[in-house]
C-alpha cells in the first residue's frame, strides 16, 4: 500500500451521489474530489450543503447511491464485510461530538482506536501488546494529556475530550484523517488550538486530512486547500487566494432548494 514515492492521490472521489432512503432529493449530486499525500483539505459550506454526508460516505458510515471512492488501491464503494473493515482501519475519524466511550478511561479510549487491528475479545479484556500501550501513552503526552491517562473520559473538558479523539484517530495508524466539524462544540480559543493540533500531528505522522469546517477564517489559517460545497455540488476547489467575500457570500447564501 501507500509508500512515500507513490505519486497518486490518497483519496479520489468521482461522481459521488447520495440520496438517503425514503427521501426524494440527492444530498450529494456528483462530487469530484482528490486528496494528495500530506494535504490538509478544508471542506466548507453552509449547513445542509452535504459536507457531513461527504465525509461519512468516504468510510461508508453513509451508503453512497452511485459514484466511486478510491482510497489508494482500494475501491471503497465495492467493499463489504471484512474488506470494508480493513479499509476503515486506514481512515481515522474525528467527530464534532468527540464520540468517546464516556465510562472508559482516557488511555482505554485511545487504545480502542486499534479495535480494527486486534480481536474484539482481546481488547475487551485489555490484553493490548506492551508496545501498543507505550505508543498510546506517548501519543497522549503529545496531545497534552499525559496527566490524564487514568481519568474517565466524561470527566474532561470539551477541548480535552477532542484531544483524546485526535489521539484515538492517530493511534489507529491511518493514512487519511476524516474530520467532521472538530471545533463546533468548542469556544474560539480552544477551537484554534485544536485545529493547530490536528494540522501539526497530521504533518508529523505524514497523514492526509479532509476536514469539514464551517468557520472559514479558521479554515484559512490552518488548511492549505479549500473545497466548497453548495447544495451537494462542489463549487470551489483551490487555495484561499481566489475565495473573495463575494464568492463566500454566494457559497453561504440560502440554498436554492428548501430541504436540509
Amino acid at each position: 500500500m501507500g509508500h512515500a514515492v507513490n505519486p497518486s492521490p490518497i483519496l479520489a472521489i468521482s461522481d459521488l451521489k447520495v440520496r438517503y432512503p425514503g427521501t426524494a432529493v440527492d444530498v450529494l449530486r456528483g462530487v469530484e474530489l482528490t486528496v494528495g499525500k500530506q494535504e490538509l483539505v478544508a471542506v466548507i459550506g453552509a449547513s445542509g450543503s452535504g459536507k457531513s454526508t461527504l465525509i461519512r460516505c468516504i468510510n461508508r458510515l453513509v451508503e453512497p447511491t452511485s459514484g466511486t471512492i478510491r482510497l489508494l488501491d482500494a475501491e471503497v464503494t465495492a467493499l463489504r464485510g471484512a474488506a470494508l473493515r480493513r479499509a476503515r482501519k486506514r481512515m481515522g475519524m474525528i467527530f464534532q461530538e468527540f464520540n468517546l466511550i464516556d465510562r472508559y478511561k482516557v488511555l482505554d479510549n485511545v487504545l480502542a482506536g486499534r479495535l480494527g487491528h486486534y480481536s474484539a475479545l482481546r481488547c475487551f479484556f485489555s490484553l493490548y501488546p506492551r508496545d501498543a500501550i507505550d505508543r498510546a501513552v506517548r501519543l497522549l503526552e503529545r496531545v497534552g494529556l499525559g496527566d490524564f491517562l487514568d481519568t474517565r473520559a466524561d470527566a474532561l473538558s470539551g477541548g480535552q475530550r477532542q484531544r483524546v479523539g485526535i489521539a484515538r484517530a492517530i493511534f489507529q495508524g491511518p493514512e487519511l484523517l476524516l474530520v467532521d466539524e472538530p471545533t463546533s462544540s468548542l469556544d474560539p480559543r480552544i477551537a484554534s488550538e485544536i485545529m493547530g493540533l490536528i494540522r501539526d500531528i497530521a504533518q508529523e505522522q505524514g497523514v492526509a486530512a479532509l476536514c469539514n469546517i464551517h468557520d472559514v477564517a479558521l479554515a484559512r489559517r490552518f488548511a492549505s486547500r479549500v473545497v466548497a460545497l453548495k447544495d451537494g455540488r462542489k463549487v470551489y476547489d483551490g487555495t484561499f487566494d481566489h475565495l473573495d467575500q463575494e464568492r463566500l457570500a454566494w457559497i453561504y447564501a440560502e440554498p436554492s432548494r428548501g430541504h436540509s
Binding site: I101, R103, A112, L115, G116, S119, A120, L121, F124, R168
Partner: protein
C-alpha cells in the same frame, strides 16, 4: 380569526373524545361485572370472612412442617432452580437483545425478526404454562422447571435489555465502527459501556421475578417447593399452606433485600 376558530374546534373535539373514553370505560366495567355475575354486596363481608378464615383455619401456621428435611430440600431445590434459570436466561438474553435491537443489530435482515419472535414467544406464554408444557415433554421434576423459568427470564430480560440498547447514543457506536472494528467490537465497545449500568439493574430485577416464579412452578410438578404447597392445599391442610406461604413471603423479602443492596452497590 379563522385560525382561532379551528383551535377552539380542535379543543372541543379533544374534550368530547375524553368524555367518550370515560363513558366507554364505565360501560365496560358495568358489562364485565354483570357478565361475571359479580355480587358487589359480598365485598362488605370480605374482610370479616377473611378474619374468620385466618383465625380458624390458617392460624396457627404449622411451622414444624416447614422445618422437615424433605421440605427444606425442596426449598434449596427452588433456590438452585431460580439461580440456574436466571443465570442461563441472562446469558442468553444479552446476545439475543443485541440481535433484537433495531439500531445496532448485527444481522438486521434475518437475526432481528428471529430474535424478536423468540423474545415475544417467551414473553407471551406465562411461566406456569411453559412449566405445564415442559412437564409434558421432559417429565416431572426440576428440569422442566428450569427450562420454563429460563424462558420466562428471557422473555422478561431480553426485551428490557433490547429497549436499553435502542436508546443509546449513536455517536460512540459510529466512532467504533469507523475504526474498522468487527461487529463484536462494536457491541463490546460501542454498545455495552452505554447499557452496562442499566443491564445490571435489569438483571437484579429479573432475579426477583424468576425467584418469585420458581416458588410456584412446582404447582404443576416442575420441581421445587410449589409441589408441597399444592399437596397441602389439595388436602385442605390450611395450617401447612399458611406456613409455606409465610416462608415464600420471607424468602422473597430476603431476595428483594439482597437485590436492594446489590442495586445500591452497583449504582452508587
Amino acid at each position: 380569526m379563522i385560525a382561532s376558530v379551528s383551535v377552539v374546534r380542535a379543543r372541543q373535539l379533544r374534550l368530547l373524545s375524553r368524555f367518550t373514553v370515560l363513558l366507554l370505560s364505565g360501560v365496560g366495567l358495568w358489562m364485565s361485572l354483570n357478565y361475571l355475575n359479580v355480587h358487589v354486596e359480598r365485598f362488605e363481608q370480605l374482610f370479616q370472612r377473611l378474619g374468620v378464615l385466618f383465625a380458624n383455619r390458617y392460624y396457627p401456621p404449622d411451622l414444624e412442617y416447614i422445618t422437615r428435611p424433605g421440605f427444606l430440600k425442596s426449598v434449596l431445590e427452588t433456590i438452585h432452580m431460580a439461580f440456574l434459570a436466571a443465570l442461563i436466561g441472562l446469558l442468553v438474553s444479552a446476545p439475543l437483545a443485541w440481535l433484537a435491537s433495531f439500531n445496532v443489530s448485527p444481522f438486521p435482515k434475518m437475526g432481528y425478526p428471529l430474535a424478536r419472535l423468540l423474545i415475544t414467544t417467551s414473553r407471551a406464554i406465562h411461566e406456569m404454562i411453559w412449566a405445564i408444557i415442559f412437564v409434558m415433554i421432559v417429565g416431572y421434576g426440576v428440569l422442566a422447571g428450569v427450562i420454563a423459568l429460563t424462558l420466562s427470564c428471557i422473555g422478561f430480560s431480553a426485551k428490557l435489555f433490547a429497549e436499553e440498547i435502542e436508546s443509546i447514543a449513536p455517536g460512540p457506536v459510529e466512532a467504533v465502527k469507523a475504526s474498522g472494528a468487527s461487529p463484536l467490537g462494536v457491541f463490546l465497545f460501542g454498545v455495552l459501556p452505554q447499557v452496562k449500568t442499566a443491564w445490571i439493574g435489569i438483571s437484579i430485577y429479573t432475579w426477583d421475578v424468576v425467584f418469585r416464579a420458581s416458588t410456584v412452578v412446582g404447582f404443576v410438578g416442575a420441581g421445587g417447593m410449589g409441589w408441597y404447597l399444592r399437596r397441602a392445599a389439595d388436602q385442605l391442610q390450611s395450617d401447612r399452606v399458611a406456613a409455606i406461604v409465610l416462608l415464600i413471603v420471607a424468602l422473597v423479602a430476603c431476595s428483594e433485600l439482597f437485590s436492594f443492596y446489590a442495586r445500591k452497590r452497583f449504582h452508587g
